[in-house]
Amino acid sequence: MQSERVENSELDEVDQVDEAALARVMRSVPLGTAVLAGSAVALLVLGYLLIYLLIFIPRGSVG
């Protein structure tokens, strides 16, 4: 227990982040995540649609 307390106090000293600044940053993090994930998925969907409409469909049907 003693050693744990020592480790925590060391971490507290290293972590100098201000709570208010952290809250300010965290407010925009979900938006950034959504934009990043949305862009990645949108590019994937766009690639799928382009291949499907411009390559697969013009090549004609098989069955």
Binding site: P30, A37, V41, I57, R59, G60, V62, G63
Partner: protein
Amino acid sequence: MSQAPPEMHEQWILRTELLWAFGVGVFVAAALSTILFTALTMGVNPPSNVERVDPKALHLSGEFAEHNLGTSVAADGSVTVRAIATQFMFLPRCIAVPSNRRVTLRFASPDVIHGLLITGTNVNTMVIPGYVAQIHTEFTRTGDLLMPCHEFCGLGHSEMWATVRVLREEEFRPGPDGRISCAQ
């Protein structure tokens, strides 16, 4: 956590997840609708044909015997191609087909699993011993198309390929027996 802004609350996270799930749902619905629409209006379907054939007796079977391989035109005008995929070649090595006309491709294997695709088209299938792989298609571009084996079938796999020669309608002239080959 008591100092966390309201945006960090679980309700807000849930709202984001639901929004994302809605977006994904819209995409899945759009993709399925496209597939359904093209299947119903343009006949775009995955090839599905379950038909057994004895792989040990292909050379004795009426359909895949050597004299019956290649392209044949039936009395009703339907074009059928029969070919064998074997280690390490396709028989025949060159297949003549007409352009802008429905063609039925039928393949069988006497030895191991093979696969084939015809470049520039959507023809792509496995050829499994014991089954007939059948595909209906229409070739729109004339010229020679490469048809390689795309399933590793042994040491000579990379040498296993054939040519599909797509001929214009006026060039596609089968003989009196209804057969046509690349040599004609």
